[in-house]
Every structure is written in C-alpha cells, then in structure tokens.
C-alpha cells in the first residue's frame, strides 16, 4: 500500500537521497556480511565444511537449536497468553505487565544473564536448594535455555498485543453468542486472526534465540562441546586465531538470519495479499 502511494523517483533530489541510503547500508551491513563470507571461504571449501565436522561445532549447533526449540514455543505460549489477557480483559496491574514484558528489550543482555546467576548461582538465593537437589543450572544447559527465554520474552508478545487490542473482543463475543465454547473461540476466532503476527513473532524470536550472545555468555561457563552455543563457539574460535573456522561458523549464523528474513518478508507478502490476514476492514 505504501508502495502504491509513493511516487516514482525520477527527479535528482530524491534520487540522491536513495543513493545515499543504499550506499550507507552497503557500507555498514553489506560490507561486513561480504567479509564474513570471503573470510570463511578464504582457505577453500574444504576448510569451510571441515569446521562443521568438528565435534565442538556440532555440539554448539545442537545446543543452539535446542535452546531455540525450547525458548520459542514457551515464549509463543506466553506471548499469546499475555497478549490475550492484555488485549481482551481489564485488570489491575495491566500497564505494569506491559512494562515488564518490554523490560528485557531495554536492559543489557548481560544483566539478563546475571540475574539468573544471582538467583540460581552457588551463592544465589536458590543456589543452595538447587545444589542440595543436585540440579545444575548455572554453567550448564538449563542456564543457557533460561537466559535465552528471558532475552526473547518480549518478541512474540509485542507482535501480538497491538494487533489484538486493535481487533477488540467483539468477534469473540459474537462467537460466544453463536454457541462456541472457550477453546472453540480461541482456536477458531482468536488464533486465526493473529496467525500472521504470531508467525512473524516466532521468526523474530527464533532469530534472536539462536543469535543471543551476552546473556548466554554469562551463564555458559564456556565449556567447549558442552555449554557453548554457536555465537559463543564463534568467539572461542576467533580467540584461538582460527579465523577461517570462526568466519565459517559466523556465515552459518548469518545465513540463518538471512533465511529468517526471507521467510519474514514472504510472510508479509502473503499477509498483504490475503485480505483476511491483517486486522483491517477495507472502507
């Protein structure tokens, strides 16, 4: 719709502006991305693929996927529940809840990691209890998953809340008067109405979950092959002066990000074409 409203660029002024924008993006995004790929392939395809055959790399990829596979569904469920309650009900502490959801976005990921250490670490509040039960969270896989969840909490909820607020509750009420029960209303009316936004949020959440460095770094303990995710693995390789390896792993991560972006754009296209997907009724 914006594309239709925008004028075609045929005068020199706007053309210069567009070129400046493109040049800027090429320098700050395109160039580094190209560097990653070039460096990754500098010693040939053999070294490139060899990186991913190392057991530590395989373990890092596996751990990254595991963390994302746990964090994304949990945050999808939480995001839906939070957005549902915020958009469809009035209750005390609503604005506090909205603020809380946003908090992980505004604070440094390092803090998101540190809070878990303070809570669950050996000298933390619940540390002794966990130690007595023999559960290891800090410097172990559960800690990494927790950190990932905390950092990605807002991503899905924030996609859903404005849309659900805009859609209101009338469709749900209509469904109820037509005889639909609670689950029926949710699965037949509420969920389909936000499905594109939900998918969009899931993709964003997934990208962040796989790429998170700061919070995970605090909780990881950097045990190779055990508590290293892909981003941590890249750092470790880099610190070992294994530039080809580091850039190969980095190119994998960047590739994942690009795939996510393409999927997101495709979704937006589908959403724009399908009249039923976004919240607006045509006038």
């Amino acid at each position: 719709m914006n594309a239709a409203a925008a004028r075609r660029v045929d005068r020199p002024g706007p053309l210069v502006l567009v070129m400046v924008a493109v040049a800027w993006l090429l320098v700050v995004i395109g160039l580094p991305l190209a560097t990653v790929v070039v460096q990754a392939l500098a010693k040939g395809l053999g070294v490139f693929f060899g990186t991913f055959r190392q057991p530590d790399a395989v373990a890092a990829i596996r751990l990254t996927l595991l963390a994302a596979a746990i964090a994304v569904p949990l945050n999808a469920a939480f995001g839906l529940a939070a957005a549902w309650s915020i958009a469809k009900f009035e209750f005390r502490g609503k604005s506090l809840l909205i603020t809380l959801i946003d908090l992980p976005l505004s604070m440094s990921p390092v803090i998101s990691g540190l809070v878990w250490v303070l809570l669950l670490g050996a000298r933390g509040w619940f540390g002794p209890v966990l130690a007595a039960a023999g559960v290891k969270v800090i410097f172990a896989v559960p800690g990494i998953v927790l950190a990932t969840i905390l950092v990605t909490v807002p991503l899905i909820a924030r996609e859903l809340i404005p849309l659900m607020i805009e859609q209101g509750t009338e469709e749900e009420l209509a469904a109820t008067t037509l005889g639909a029960g609670g689950w029926s209303v949710f699965f037949r009316v509420t969920l389909p109405n936000v499905r594109w936004a939900l998918l969009h949020g899931v993709l964003l959440c997934n990208a962040r979950a796989m790429g998170e460095f700061g919070a995970v770094s605090v909780l990881s303990g950097h045990i190779r092959g055990v508590t290293e995710t892909l981003p941590l693995h890249i750092e470790a390789l880099y610190n070992d002066y294994d530039f080809a390896g580091a850039f190969s792993a980095a190119s994998l991560l960047a590739g994942l990000a690009i795939v996510t972006l393409i999927a997101k754009t495709a979704l937006e296209r589908a959403g724009a074409v399908n009249p039923s997907s976004r919240g607006f009724h045509a006038p």
Binding site: E170, E171, T177, L178, V189, G279
Partner: protein, 374 residues
C-alpha cells in the same frame, strides 16, 4: 417465545445503567428500544444476550430462567453495531459458524449446513457472495451477513444493536425494510436498539422508549405519538417548540392566546408548553391574536414549509405550514403565533428565555453541560 423482563437493575460503578426495567415482548413481536445515549438500551440488550449480568431482577423466556443460562447456552442471535464478522472466514463460513461449533452429536450433517447457508444467503439477498471475505464487502452487505449469521442458529431471540448506525441514509432505509421483511418471514421475536426515533417508529410493532435507565413508555408508534406519557417522550419523538404558560381549568394560557392541553385532567399551575411545528399556526393578518413574532426563515419542499420565527424575547419557533399558507409570509414580516395543542411540562417553570426550538437533526444538537439550565 414470550420474553419477560422483570425489574432489572444494573449499575456500572456509581452510574445506574438500568434502574428497574420491566417489559414484555410477545411471541414474534418486533420491539425497538429507543432512547438517548446513556439511557440503558444497549445495556439491556447485553443483559439479554448474556454479555452482562444484572445486579438484580429476572428475565424469563417462555417461563425459563434466562439469567441462569450462559451467553453460549441462550441461543440468542446478536447483531453487533460494527457487525463483528469473523474476518478470516468467508461469508459462507461466517454464516455456518454457529452450526459448525456445535458438539458432534447435535451438529447437523455437512450437507444440511451447506443448504442452510444457501437458504440464509437467499433470505438476506446476498447469493453469490458466499465465497467473499468480509473485507471485500460493502457496509450494507456486511450487515446482511451479520443478520444471516445470527439467524443460522435459529435463535429464540434476535437482538440488534444500532444495526444501521454505520450506513448511509439510502442503504439504511433499504435495509430497514429488508429487516422487517426478514422478521416477518422468520417470525423470530426481535429486539432492536436505536437512538433514531424515525427508525424505531418505522420498524417496530411496539416502541420501548427509555431514559436514564428506566422505561418511559411502551406502545405502538402511533400510541407514543398520540398519547405521550411524559414531556420527555413528547420532546424526544419530534421537533418541539417551547413556551412558558399557565394552566387553568385544563386550558393552557399564553400571552395573547390559549391552547388545548394534551394531558387529560391537567392540574392548574405554571409550566412550559411543548408543541409540535405542525400544531403551530402563524397569522399575518392585521387583527390576528397570538404571540407577536417576526418571520426569520422559510425552508422546505413539496407541499410543506417550515417557517422559523422569533418572538420579541428572542425565543425561536418553527411552524410547519402548508405551502399555500407559507407563500403569504415573507422573511422579516410580522405575524401572530398560536398553538393548537400543547403538552405541559410542569417541572419546567423557568421564565421565558431565548432558546432555539429543539430539533433532532444531529448537527443541531449541542451537548448539554451540567451548568446549562436547559
């Protein structure tokens, strides 16, 4: 399905939305709930639909305690002001929804549902639109889908909340007739909420006029017109002129003329007379009796003219005259005003003050602030 509403109260915070509403809808009747905004008509509709619970009072449908049922169990067809169509479903899916969500043992077979959808598309005259999405429909078409969807579950009661509010005048009139036809074809007891007195009067078997959470009057449209129960009813139902008067011996006395009082056996006392433009006369002849006024404006079309005039006090009146009588009047001309029949508001004993006649056209209405003595 006879609906009985008995002394229903509902309070929102300190605001009483319903202050003891009792009424009965007969089987197959078309009722309109009419009243200004804040009069409680939508709240009453929501109570009937099960979306709000009254604080006390009873609602029975054919002797069954309606309040004991959840919204889901009531089988009430509710048409929302903004239609609330399911945006991700086609028109046909929207209409079929109420049947589709039934538990398996009571759900009709697929073919039956399909047939029912076709019948409803035909009834609401939107055949061929079954495959469209709500976003691809005009306002009037959406309205039809909303009605069809509500009728699909064979509701025991059809409730409509300002269903024509979002439509332009022509479509509104068309759909109004259509709705009455659909009601007559299905025989479903129907309750429609509106603030538009013309709409309410045109559609209903009986009109329920509400004000401040109470029922002011229930009756056939002509009954409300002929025998308004209160000055509020009279003023709400049409354009109204106001003039201070004194009632003595059942006759309203004004400076220069007298008029018949609508209320039977009106007590003596001071008050404000309310009268319709069509009960207002203007006489420009030299020896005429009545309130001296000056013609300010002449408007109208067809055989009728609305003549606006102003008294020396600055007060304005509208007189509805036949074209032949109005043709003798010119702007600026002096004339004498009389009224044939008046309704006296004894609660309003303010002295004469400049004031424009009340009109119902929205552009003419100003919000009434608490400090405004009117």
């Amino acid at each position: 399905m006879t609906l009985t509403i008995d002394r229903v109260y509902k309070q929102f915070g300190r605001f009483p939305a319903l202050a003891g509403v009792s009424l009965e809808a007969r089987d197959g009747e078309f009722l309109t709930l009419l009243g200004p905004s804040g009069s409680g008509k939508t709240t009453l509709l929501r109570v009937l639909a099960g979306l709000d619970r009254p604080d006390h009072g009873c609602v029975f449908l054919d002797g069954q305690d309606f309040l004991a049922l959840s919204a889901r169990e009531r089988r009430v067809g509710l048409v929302f002001q903004q239609y609330a169509l399911f945006r991700h479903m086609t028109v046909a899916q929207n209409i079929a929804f109420g049947l589709d969500v039934r538990p398996r043992r009571t759900r009709p077979p697929r073919a039956t549902i399909k047939q029912r959808v076709q019948e409803l598309l035909a009834l609401t005259q939107i055949e061929g639109l079954g495959g469209r999405y709500p976003a691809q429909l005009s306002g009037g078409q959406r309205q039809r889908v909303a009605v069809a969807r509500a009728l699909a579950v064979e509701p025991r009661l059809l409730l409509l909340d300002e269903p024509f509010g979002a439509l332009d005048a022509k479509v509104r009139k068309e759909l109004r007739d259509e709705l009455r036809r659909i009601h007559d074809a299905t025989g479903v007891t129907t309750i429609l909420v509106t603030h538009d007195q013309e709409e309410a009067m045109a559609l209903a078997d009986r009109v329920v006029l509400m004000n401040a959470g109470r029922v002011e009057q229930i009756g056939a449209p002509w009954e409300l017109d002929d025998a308004p129960a209160s000055p509020f009813v009279f003023a709400f139902l049409g354009e109204t002129n106001r003039l201070a008067c004194e009632v003595r011996g059942g006759v309203a006395r004004f400076e220069g003329f007298t008029a018949e009082v609508r209320q039977p056996a009106a007590a003596d006392g001071r008050g404000t007379a309310l009268f319709r433009p069509y009960d207002t006369r203007l006489d420009a002849s030299a020896n005429a009796e009545g309130l001296p006024v000056r013609v300010v404006d002449v408007r109208g079309r067809g055989g009728v003219r609305a003549v606006e005039c102003q008294a020396l006090s600055g007060q304005r009146f509208i007189a509805e005259l036949p074209q032949s009588a109005a043709d003798r009047l010119e702007v600026g001309q002096r004339a004498r005003l009389t009224a044939r029949r008046v309704m006296v508001d004894f609660a309003d004993t303010e002295p004469v003050r400049p004031r424009a006649p009340e009109r119902l056209a929205p552009r003419e209405r100003r919000p009434i602030s608490p400090s405004d003595p009117s």
